[in-house]
């Protein structure tokens, strides 16, 4: 062959300069974009911590357990206790309601519904997630809150009124209870769509095995489907919780923005995110702004831990599924 006679090293470069530059440029650009994207996460944490610093120095850790929000007292006195409690109560309340409903929807869409029904129903439930929170909030103020105050809350109060959290005057309109329902509506699409994916991922041999052994569909779900993805279901619920913790607008519209928080769910309260949304115009002094940013930092830390943990669990399930098949 002719090529064999060419001494090694004297072969002409076939890659054009343009290609080498182009490859390097594309690599550099895309890598840079990725780095900037991740840096944004750290920039958020850093800027919020930095902005909160004056308040951290002034209020110390006492900020999280003191319960006062007064611009005029001692040149501004702020503590987030009831806001944190409000966030926890509304989010966990929403989780208690939306968890079981979302699992049921996930099961319906993965195991029960005829194939022709699955896609449209799934899409409709996803559309619920697309409704902007301000619209849900508007609906919450003028449709849901009156309905709660006139029918739902008095009904629950009549049966369970002896429990303090269902006590008080059930005819109040701006209530923690309404906020819980609003958050439930907003978390259902998130949790249920992840649940559906998880349940679909359960190997059909397992399901068929259970049916073959004479289990009813419910027994199959209870003994095979749900246990094999239990961690994922928990993570799905926690991801919904993460959304609920940080929801500002819809909550601030319905909850009444009032601390000290009522001991009853049928009274007013406030959450961290809701307080932030509510105070955006009123923030006048430097100390108040710093206190608000401190509040944002507390919220950020809580949601960060929640989401990170949930993401890790979900990732593990994804890996298991793709690695196992």
């Amino acid at each position: 062959m002719e090529a064999a006679s060419i001494p090694p090293g004297s072969l002409p470069r076939t890659r054009h300069v343009g290609d080498r530059v182009g490859d390097g440029l594309l690599y550099g650009l895309t890598a840079l974009a990725s780095i900037v994207g991740i840096l944004v996460v750290f920039a958020i944490v850093w800027r919020v911590a930095d902005g909160a610093w004056p308040a951290i120095k002034f209020f110390k850790f006492g900020f999280v357990y003191r319960n006062v929000w007064n611009v005029n007292l001692n040149g501004g006195s702020f503590g987030a206790r009831d806001l944190i409690i409000g966030t926890v109560v509304t989010s966990f309340g929403a989780m208690l309601l939306s968890g079981p409903i979302s699992i049921a929807i996930g099961l319906f869409l993965s195991e029960l519904a005829p194939p022709a029904v699955r896609a449209p129903v799934g899409t409709l439930i996803d559309m619920l997630a697309a409704v902007p929170s301000v619209v849900i909030g508007l609906w919450g103020i003028y449709v849901l809150a009156p309905f709660d105050a006139d029918h739902l809350a008095p009904g629950i109060h009549a049966v369970l009124g002896w429990i303090p959290i269902f006590g008080g005057d059930p005819h109040t309109e701006s209530t923690v209870f309404t906020a819980i329902i609003v958050l439930t509506i907003m978390t259902i699409p998130i949790t249920s769509s992840i649940c559906r994916e998880l349940f679909i991922g359960v190997p059909s041999e397992l399901e068929e095995g259970a049916i073959g052994l004479g289990a009813t569909r419910w027994e199959m779900v209870k003994t095979v489907v749900v246990p094999s993805v239990r961690g994922g279901v928990v993570a799905a619920i926690i991801l919904g919780l993460g959304r609920a913790l940080g929801e500002a607008i819809a909550v601030t519209q319905v909850i009444g923005n009032f601390i000290p928080m009522s001991r009853s769910l049928f009274g007013s309260g406030d959450t961290m995110a809701s307080r932030l949304a509510n105070q955006y115009q009123g923030a006048s002094t430097d100390r108040q702004i710093a206190a608000l940013i401190y509040l944002a930092l507390v919220l950020l830390v809580i949601t960060f831990i929640t989401n990170y943990a949930a993401q890790r669990v979900v990732k593990r399930f994804e890996l298991q599924r793709t690695g196992g098949v």
């Binding site: 054009h16 290609d19 080498r20 182009g22 594309l26 650009l29 895309t30 990725s34 994207g37 991740i38 944004v40 996460v41 958020i44 800027r47 919020v48 902005g51 409903i101 049921a104 929807i105 029960l112 519904a113 129903v121 899409t123 439930i125 996803d126 559309m127 619920l128 697309a130 902007p132 301000v134 619209v135 909030g137 508007l138 609906w139 103020i141 259902i188 699409p189 009813t216 569909r217 419910w218 027994e219 779900v221 991801l239 993460g242 913790l245 940080g246 500002a248 607008i249 519209q253 932030l276 955006y280 115009q281 940013i293 944002a296 919220l299 950020l300 949601t303 960060f304 993401q311 990732k315």
Partner: protein
């Protein structure tokens, strides 16, 4: 199924098991029906209350300053929303697509997974905190750039929305790029085409539809976000303003402020604006999803 000579009707324990099964199945159906019913009720409430106030003036006029002359229209908010989402898309689209290209074409698997994880973490940040972040970055402190900083502006608001959109665009683009058949890439390499040419001429055009729909979904989400704008682009004049260094009105904020107001005429305006917003969001997300489904099927078949 029908009992004939010997009865196949379950009795005792078996009957209870079937009953429990029936109850469980009905609960699942009920849960799905409930979720759809809530969606229907929300859309119906907004539609029935909002549609009455919709007329050409509503889109073309600003809020009326005349105390008795009704509430006027939402033209400034409409323009402002367009501007804000435009700025956000301009930032988030290239960033998101480039990140996705890096993850699917260049990065080793482990780094790709890290990037995905952090994007998901970003996606989980409360949108109000992102608003505060931009507030500390561009509103509270002076940015010696373009005359923004030290006051609210459409650039600041758009940047906050871009932070919301970035993980959505990047994740959806990654999904689509992953669906591009590998033999297309290999065929291109076999012809001696370089990597960047392959990405630009083969991978991106193949996944163009998917990227477009993913971006549309992100736009729909950003258009409805209120919380990031509260601290960054909330206090604005009552006129149509296309200057991105000014603070502008927006549809979600108009709904929020109107809903908190005591004036019933403004409530009417809130419902109408909500109707416009919900219509836009639902129509765009629905179309985008259907298109995504189609392009996914198309790419899936090629493989």
């Amino acid at each position: 199924m029908e009992p004939r000579a010997i009865t196949l009707k379950a009795t005792g324990r078996g009957r209870r098991r079937l009953l429990v099964n029936r109850v469980a199945e009905s609960t699942a159906v009920l849960a799905a029906v409930l979720a759809i019913a809530v969606l229907a009720v929300v859309i119906w409430s907004v539609g029935s209350r909002g549609v009455g106030a919709i007329n050409p003036d509503f889109f073309l006029k600003g809020p009326s300053s005349d105390f008795f002359g009704g509430t006027g229209g939402i033209a400034p908010a409409l323009a402002g929303s367009l501007l804000l989402v435009g700025v956000a898309t301009l930032i988030a689209l290239p960033m998101g697509v480039l990140t996705a290209i890096f993850v699917s074409e260049f990065a080793p698997v482990s780094i790709g997974q890290q990037i995905r994880l952090w994007l998901d973490v970003l996606n989980g940040f409360p949108s109000i905190v992102i608003g505060i972040f931009v507030f500390t970055l561009a509103v509270k402190t002076k940015v010696p750039l373009l005359g923004i900083g030290h006051h609210q502006s459409a650039v600041a608001g758009g940047f906050a929305l871009a932070v919301i959109m970035l993980p959505l665009v990047a994740r959806s683009t990654m999904e689509v790029l992953r669906l591009v058949p590998n033999n297309l890439r290999e065929a291109s390499y076999a012809l001696g085409v370089s990597k960047w040419q392959t990405v630009m001429r083969v991978v991106l055009p193949t996944s163009f539809g998917g990227i477009l729909t993913g971006t549309t979904l992100a736009v729909a989400r950003a258009a409805g976000e209120t919380a990031p704008l509260l601290f960054t682009c909330a206090i604005a004049g009552q006129i149509v303003d296309w200057n991105p260094t000014h603070s502008v009105q927006s549809i979600p904020l108009t709904i929020y402020l109107d809903s908190e107001s005591a004036d019933p005429a403004l409530h009417q305006q809130a419902w109408a604006a909500a109707f416009v917003l919900i219509l836009f969001v639902l129509v765009t997300s629905l179309t985008a999803r259907l298109m995504l489904e189609r392009s996914r099927r198309k790419l899936g078949l090629q493989r």
